[in-house]
C-alpha cells in the first residue's frame, strides 16, 4: 500500500502498523460474518432451488428480459438524443445577449431542475396521457437537459476570457466565437461531466417501472411474481441488479477515463510551459 499523504494521520510506525493490521483482521471478520449471514439466509430461505432458477432456462423468459433491457436502452437512447440538444439550446439561451431569452431560459432550466423527476413523469403520463415510454423520455429529457444546460453554460464560462476577446478582436461574429472558439475548448473540460450526467439518466430510466413502462425492472417483476416459478424474487434480483449496476459502472468508468485522458492531454500539458517562459529567467541562461 502506498500511503497517501493525508492530513489525518502520520505514516504509521511499526506499533501503529501492527494495530492497523489487527483492526484490519477484525474488520474482515465482521464483513465475512455479514456475508456469511446473507449466504446462510439465501440457503435457509431456499433461494437456490431448481424451481426458482428454472425460469431462466425458458426462451420466453430470456426474451422477456432481453426485451425489457432493450426498452431500457431505447428510453436511454432517446433521452440522450433529446437531452443534449435541449441542454445546448437552453445553455445558449442563458448565455444570450437578449434579456428576455435569458430570463425565459433561466426560468425553464431552474424550474425543471427543482422539480422531482418523478412528478414530471407522472404529470406527463397521467395528465397529458402520453404513452409510458414517451412520458419517461420527456421527463428524463426535461430534467437531464436542464442539468446539462447548466453544465454547458459553466463549461463555456470557464474558458479563459482572453479567448473570447481575441476571437472578437479578429472580427468573428458572436455565433462564430461560440462555435469555433468557446465550445471546442469547453467541450474537453465538460465531457466527463456530461457522461456522468448520462449515468444519472441511465439510472433514472428505471423510474419507468413506476409508470408501468415495460423496461428491464418491469420484466423482472413479471417473473418474480409468477407463482408457477415459486416467486423467484431473489434470483431475479441476482440477475437484474448486476446488469443494471454493470451498465452504470461501465459508463462511470468511461467518464473517469475521459477525465484522466483530458488531464494528461498533450495540449493541456504543452500549454503550461509557454506562459512562464517569458516571465521566469531561464535557469541555464
Amino acid at each position: 500500500m502506498t500511503v497517501e499523504s493525508s492530513a489525518l494521520y502520520d505514516v504509521p510506525g511499526p506499533k501503529a502498523l501492527a494495530r492497523h493490521r489487527l483492526y484490519g483482521w477484525l474488520a474482515l471478520l465482521v464483513i465475512a460474518a455479514v456475508i456469511g449471514w446473507v449466504v446462510y439466509m439465501l440457503f435457509h430461505t431456499q433461494q437456490f432451488t431448481y424451481q426458482k432458477w428454472m425460469p431462466f432456462e425458458y426462451e420466453g423468459v430470456q426474451e422477456l428480459l432481453l426485451r425489457g433491457l432493450g426498452n431500457t436502452l431505447k428510453a436511454f437512447g432517446w433521452t440522450v438524443l433529446f437531452a443534449l440538444p435541449f441542454g445546448a439550446l437552453f445553455a445558449a439561451g442563458r448565455l444570450s445577449e437578449h434579456r428576455v431569452v435569458r430570463w425565459v431560459s433561466t426560468l425553464v432550466v431552474e424550474f425543471f431542475r427543482a422539480m422531482p423527476l418523478l412528478v414530471m413523469i407522472f404529470f406527463i403520463f397521467v395528465a397529458l396521457k402520453a404513452p409510458a415510454m414517451w412520458a419517461l423520455v420527456a421527463g428524463l429529457t426535461l430534467y437531464n437537459g436542464s442539468v446539462l444546460a447548466e453544465v454547458f453554460r459553466a463549461g463555456v464560462l470557464a474558458v479563459p476570457k482572453g479567448q473570447r476577446e481575441a476571437a472578437y478582436a479578429l472580427g468573428l461574429r458572436k455565433t462564430q466565437v461560440m462555435a469555433y472558439v468557446l465550445v471546442p475548448q469547453a467541450n474537453r473540460a465538460m465531457l466527463p461531466t456530461i457522461v456522468s450526467q448520462l449515468v444519472v439518466a441511465l439510472k433514472d430510466t428505471s423510474l419507468g417501472f413506476l409508470i408501468t413502462y415495460e423496461e428491464f425492472l418491469h420484466a423482472g417483476k413479471l417473473i418474480a411474481t409468477n407463482l408457477d416459478y415459486d416467486l423467484p424474487f431473489i434470483p431475479v434480483v441476482m440477475v437484474i441488479a448486476p446488469v443494471y449496476i454493470g451498465m452504470c459502472l461501465l459508463l462511470s468508468w468511461f467518464a473517469k477515463w475521459l477525465e484522466r485522458r483530458g488531464r494528461r492531454s498533450p495540449k493541456v500539458k504543452g500549454g503550461a510551459p509557454v506562459a512562464p517562459a517569458g516571465l521566469t529567467p531561464d535557469p541555464q541562461g
Partner: protein
C-alpha cells in the same frame, strides 16, 4: 384553487409524510455517510475497501432498483418492517454514498500541513480530527451537502409508489375524487418547491455563517 382548499388535509398529510421521510432519511444518510467516509480515509485497508465498494455500488444502483430490492426483497428473508422504515433504509443507504463522497472530498481539501502542525503540537488523533480538520472541512462541505439533501428530498417521491404516504402519492386520492388533474399536480409541485427551497435556504444560511468566521 378549490382543489387545494377542498383537499387540504390530504395534501397536508402528504406533505408531512414527505417532510418526515426526508428528515429521517437525511439523518440515516448523514450517520452512515460519516461512518463510511471514516472508513474510506482510515489507514485500515479492509475498511477502506469496504467503503470504496459501498460507494461504488450504491452510486451506480438505480434508486428504483434499490427500493425494489429493499421493499420486496427483505421480506423474503423474513424481515418485515413498516413500508416507511423500508423507504428510509433505501433512501438513507443510497444517499449515504453521496454524503460519504462529499465528506471525503471535504477532508481532502484540508492541507496536509494542518494535520502535521496539529500533531507536532501534541494533539491526539481525536483532537486533531475534532479541533483542526473537521472544522475546516466543514466549510467546503456545506454547499455540496445542501445539493445532496435537495436531491434526497426530490427522491422521496419514489417512495409513494412503494406504499408510503407522501406528497406525490396524493394525486391518486384527489384524482379519484374527480378534481382537475393539472391543478392537482400544480399544488403537488408547489409542495416540493417549498421543501427544496427551504432546504436550500437552510444550507445558504449555514454557509454564510461559516463563511463569516473565516
Amino acid at each position: 384553487m378549490n382543489v387545494l382548499t377542498d383537499n387540504w388535509s390530504t395534501y397536508w398529510h402528504g406533505f408531512l409524510g414527505t417532510l418526515w421521510l426526508t428528515l429521517v432519511s437525511a439523518a440515516l444518510a448523514l450517520a452512515l455517510g460519516v461512518v463510511v467516509a471514516g472508513f474510506r480515509v482510515s489507514p485500515v485497508r479492509p475498511l477502506r475497501a469496504f467503503g470504496t465498494g459501498w460507494v461504488t455500488v450504491l452510486r451506480n444502483t438505480p434508486l428504483t432498483l434499490l427500493f425494489f430490492i429493499v421493499v420486496l426483497g427483505l421480506p423474503r428473508f423474513d424481515i418485515t418492517l413498516p413500508f416507511f422504515t423500508f423507504a428510509v433504509l433505501a433512501l438513507g443507504c443510497y444517499t449515504s454514498a453521496f454524503v460519504c463522497e462529499t465528506l471525503r472530498s471535504g477532508v481532502n481539501t484540508v492541507p496536509t500541513g494542518q494535520g502535521e502542525a496539529a500533531r507536532s503540537l501534541g494533539l491526539t488523533f481525536a483532537q486533531t480530527l475534532g479541533l483542526v480538520i473537521l472544522p475546516q472541512a466543514y466549510r467546503s462541505v456545506v454547499a455540496p451537502l445542501g445539493s445532496v439533501m435537495i436531491a434526497l428530498a426530490k427522491n422521496t417521491a419514489i417512495a409513494g409508489s412503494f406504499s408510503v404516504v407522501e406528497l406525490l402519492g396524493t394525486y391518486r386520492t384527489i384524482n379519484e375524487l374527480g378534481y382537475g388533474i393539472v391543478w392537482t399536480f400544480v399544488w403537488i409541485a408547489l409542495g416540493y418547491l417549498i421543501l427544496t427551497l427551504a432546504i436550500s435556504a437552510l444550507f445558504n444560511l449555514l454557509e454564510r455563517r461559516v463563511a463569516v468566521s473565516r
